[in-house]
């Protein structure tokens, strides 16, 4: 995990994002337990309240479920939801940023498409 001050997002959202990454990459499969608040806090020197806030964000989205006295577990079906959500952000934010930057640099539509095709190979 990696946290930054100058990231546009508040720290608790970054925490939530990093846990989502664990689920997306399959590091924590559905139905399994995610790292505990204390584990994340002590390892990355982040205030437990902040970590908890990030966790609760995922609970409210239905990605994680609390099991009393044990910890937080990935809700079944979360992986697919996350893939869909990330696809939407990729299209909206990152592709449009890429297109803007390409325009600034005078890269044409076809050139950009070729570049993307090239990087897939």
């Amino acid at each position: 995990m990696n946290f930054s001050d100058t990231d546009g997002r508040p720290l608790f959202q970054q925490v939530a994002g990093q846990i989502e990454d664990l689920i997306l990459t399959g590091a924590v499969p559905e139905g399994e337990q995610v790292p505990s608040t204390t584990e994340i806090s002590t390892t990355y020197k982040i205030n437990p309240a902040t970590v908890l806030k990030g966790m609760n964000l995922l609970v409210s989205k239905g990605y994680l479920e609390k099991r009393r006295g044990i910890g937080m577990f990935v809700t079944p079906g979360t992986h697919r939801k996350l893939v869909n959500e990330r696809r939407a952000t990729l299209l909206h934010d990152e592709v449009s940023a890429l297109v803007t930057e390409a325009r600034n640099l005078g890269i044409s539509r076809d050139q950009l498409i070729d570049m993307i095709k090239g990087s897939f190979e």
Partner: protein
């Protein structure tokens, strides 16, 4: 259990160290107390912990006065740069005596820390190096059963490995036994994610207090061509700015306005940089023209900003 500090003023013959300081420290919260040298941090901590007297004002724990009141003082513990242990006392004796005075001591944690830091408890305090003196004081502070722990420069003389270990253990013990920690340090970057709440003090007054997350996002930098940057920030609350030929960085307090023109780069400041800019703005507040620093001046304050990198 709430610690309330109201209207503290400390006057010395030469200067006023604190000026009408009011604060509330909530239980089970980690605070950062930030301020430059001579800002009044230690004076404040020394008054709260009964080491010196205030000229005016009160310190209360759940409505009960703390100043020179043993039953209330039992809930407070200050670990400071000044050493108050008898220098010839053995480290192990310091811990057992502390247990006797406070009626308890977290020996499990103490032994874990003693091993982790490789502290030799059979040595007398005065035989220890600066780093190990800090470690001894830290262990006492983390293991007493008090509910308010004040750590004044807790990592003084500690190497990077020991600092890392300390921060981990601090969070671990905080999770195991939540209590209020107030940390005063110059190494702001290292604790910026660790604290929940921040108090900034300068020249004996509280400049700002609030939760760390919103403070990290309560100011931003605008970087770009001087004309563009100046125009964009003209009506904003500018803290300070750096300027080199062809480029300008303006530090602004507040939320980022919508519609940032292309060509300007916006970044949130982070706690350390925000503190530096705020203290600067306060210092030169009477004379805004001084707020524009040449790049050298702010060099040491931050290292992730492009403008400073370019200036080098």
């Amino acid at each position: 259990m709430t610690l309330k500090i109201s209207h503290l003023t400390k006057r010395y013959k030469e200067k006023q160290a604190l000026n009408n300081v009011s604060l509330t420290f909530e239980p089970s919260t980690i605070y950062a107390l930030l301020g430059n040298n001579g800002a009044g941090k230690s004076t404040l901590l020394n008054i709260i912990n009964n080491r010196i007297f205030t000229t005016e004002g009160e310190v209360e724990l759940d409505g009960e006065p703390v100043i020179d009141n043993s039953p209330a003082l039992r809930h407070l513990y200050l670990m400071s740069e000044d050493n108050l242990f008898p220098p010839s006392m053995k480290v192990s004796t310091i811990f057992t005596m502390t247990e006797g005075f406070f009626g308890g001591f977290d020996w499990d944690l103490a032994n874990h820390l003693i091993n982790g830091f490789e502290l030799q408890t059979s040595l007398s305090f005065k035989k220890l190096s600066t780093g190990y003196r800090t470690i001894t004081k830290l262990i006492a502070a983390l293991c007493v059963p008090a509910n308010y722990i004040f750590l004044d420069e807790p990592v003084l003389g500690l190497d990077a490995t020991h600092r890392e270990f300390f921060y981990r253990e601090l969070i671990q013990t905080f999770s195991d036994r939540p209590r209020c920690f107030v940390i005063s340090t110059h190494l702001i970057e290292e604790i910026s994610h660790l604290v929940e709440s921040v108090v900034i003090i300068d020249d004996g007054v509280i400049l700002e207090q609030g939760d760390a997350e919103s403070m990290e996002r309560s100011a931003f930098s605008v970087e770009g061509s001087p004309d563009l940057a100046e125009e964009f920030t003209a009506n904003l609350d500018v803290l300070s700015s750096n300027r080199i030929t062809g480029q300008m960085t303006v530090y602004v307090k507040g939320t980022v306005p919508p519609d940032v023109p292309a060509g300007l780069r916006i970044e949130y400041l982070g706690l350390q940089d925000y503190f530096v800019r705020l203290a600067q703005a306060h210092k030169f507040g009477q004379n805004p023209s001084l707020r524009t620093m040449d790049s050298d001046f702010t060099d040491d304050s931050h290292d992730s900003h492009n403008s400073t990198e370019v200036a080098r």
